[in-house]
């Protein structure tokens, strides 16, 4: 977030959303508390509005240090609010994904966040607004299979692991070793699923350039 934004001028969206344990899943409340303590984050995503290269944008940044960046109801809600805020204010949306996938401990409600976030991106599409999705290491499962792969432009960081099923799960399923570079950003680009692989130090310039090209006039 510090890398992308011009200054500290950032208005957070959904700061009120704290961790929840809707299924009363065994051990989950303790795990949430421990992750909060250790990471200093209150959930696996931060959303808000700020300025980059002089352009107002809505930004979501996920953090894989919080329960693998997995998506439960809070992450899903933040992404949906960010997309709706972008629609209301006619702003571009930029999402940095970093996630192991859906959060098991919120069960079906985690799965439904995929539909919710994808529907919210659908509204952004209908409004003709730009959405840039940046895939960082790792972007997997329920996050890659929802909002992360719905960008008008999809960028990925070099070497980032990106896919649906995790490499260990695939290896166990097919009982063979996976080829070198499988599910890495460059592999995804080769197969036509990302537009560009961009190192972190060039990311801001790239984002600003794309946003500028989508401004009216």
């Amino acid at each position: 977030m510090q890398i992308t934004l011009d200054s500290d001028d950032f208005t957070e969206l959904g700061a009120d959303l704290g961790p929840r344990d809707p299924l009363q899943f065994p051990g989950y409340a303790e795990r949430l508390a421990a992750n909060r303590e250790r990471s200093g984050l209150n959930e696996a995503a931060v959303a808000g509005e700020g300025t980059t290269g002089g352009h107002r944008v809505v930004l979501v940044v996920m953090d894989s240090h919080f329960i693998m960046g997995s998506m439960g109801t809070v992450v899903g809600e933040k992404v949906a609010r960010a997309a709706e805020h972008a629609v209301t204010n006619a702003l571009p949306l930029v999402v940095f994904s970093a996630s192991g996938g859906a959060r098991m401990q919120e069960g079906i409600l985690s799965l439904m966040q995929m539909a919710k976030t994808a529907a919210a991106i659908g509204r952004l599409d209908d409004a003709g607004l730009l959405y840039i999705s940046v895939l960082t290491d790792p972007t997997m499962g329920g996050v890659s299979a929802s909002f992360a792969f719905l960008g008008d432009v999809i960028l990925a960081e070099p070497g980032a692991l990106i896919g649906f099923a995790g490499p260990r799960v695939i290896e166990q399923t097919i009982r063979q070793k996976l080829p070198n570079g499988f599910q890495q950003a460059e592999f995804l680009k080769e197969h036509g699923f990302v537009d560009a692989v961009v190192p972190r130090n060039r990311l801001k310039d790239t984002l600003v350039k794309i946003i500028a090209m989508h401004q009216a006039g």
Binding site: P22, M104, G141, H191
Partner: protein, 315 residues
């Protein structure tokens, strides 16, 4: 031999005994009506006891029963006539998903559904209902076609999950699922989703966004199969039974969590115990919902669909 689970054994033993007694009475010309009636009453009570109080894991087993009706069975029972359509127009035809245009109760509809096999051979051919990206894209193609011809879309869910493999990743499993979610959420025709067996992970959800979300009484639906959940959380697929308990994946759980709209009743003991009755029960619920949706204004329908998914989980 039909599959009988351990917890069902007392019932099937009693049923066998009744059959034997009936045969015996015919063969020997004896009147055993009273004895048979007593046993039949006991069997009915036992069924009510056992099937009336199924654990989540037992429901998983019933949802996976090899004699449970699949998508094709319902299509055949509901459609006076239909034509099956194949292929995603990009890579291939995924046999784990079927799609038809058919005439049902006076409607022209598009029906898509996961399709498992009846036996090992067919299961291998259909990959146990685990779809590849081309399966998702076939669904998307048929959904767009339904939209063009203003046909309602019916989605039948029955899969342990999306396929895990090299080809699936190369061809963009995640992108294919994501695209379906976004497309179905704004599709400009009524969409009814029914979980008819097991609904597992993104592979199920790729067909699972609609105006009404119905679930058969013993169907299950969750973020992953209990085996996958146990592997992810405890690195031990053997703890699947335990995962099924804590995942809250039964129709009853999902109704109380506000995820589904309605539970479609099943015959006592599950669809496989009386397929004809089960199909009638689903037909009633499906067409009642479809009738309601088809009478709604389209813009209102789309707003309600968005609201439905937007608020799931806001307890």
């Amino acid at each position: 031999m039909p599959t009988v689970y351990d917890f069902e054994r007392p019932i099937s033993e009693l049923e066998t005994k009744i059959e034997e007694l009936k045969q015996f009475s015919v063969e020997k010309g004896l009147n055993l009506k009273q004895e048979i009636e007593v046993l039949a009453e006991r069997a009915a009570a036992l069924k009510k006891d056992i099937y009336g109080d199924l654990s989540p894991w037992q429901k998983v087993l019933i949802a996976r029963h090899p004699d449970r009706l699949g998508s094709r069975d319902y299509i055949e029972r509901f459609c006076g006539e239909y034509i099956e359509l194949h292929g995603d127009r990009a890579f291939g035809d995924d046999p784990a998903v079927i799609g038809v245009v058919g005439r049902m109760n006076g409607y022209m509809v598009t029906v898509v559904g996961h399709q498992k096999g009846r036996d090992t051979k067919e299961n291998l051919a259909r990959n146990f209902g685990m779809l590849h990206p081309e399966g998702c894209r076939k669904v998307l193609r048929l959904a767009r076609q339904a939209e063009k011809f203003r046909r309602p879309l019916i989605c039948l869910l029955d899969t342990p999950g999306a396929h895990c493999g090299i080809g699936a990743e190369e061809r963009g499993q995640a992108e294919a699922i994501a695209r379906n979610l976004a497309a179905l959420s704004t599709l400009r025709v009524p969409v009814v989703v029914v979980v008819i067996g097991e609904g597992g992970s993104g592979g199920a959800l790729a067909l699972g966004v609609g105006d009404r979300l119905l679930m058969q009484e013993h169907a299950v639906f969750s973020v992953s199969s209990p085996e996958a959940c146990a592997t992810i959380l405890w690195k031990d697929a053997g703890r699947a039974r335990e995962a099924a308990e804590v995942l809250k994946m039964t129709a009853q759980d999902l109704l109380s969590l506000g995820v589904i709209d309605e539970i479609v009743p099943e015959p006592l003991g599950g669809v496989h115990r009386d397929p004809a009755q089960a199909a009638e029960m689903l037909r009633e619920s499906l067409f009642r919902n479809l009738n309601e949706l088809c009478r709604m204004d389209l813009e209102q329908l789309l707003r309600a669909r968005y609201h439905k998914y937007r608020t799931i989980g806001n307890l």
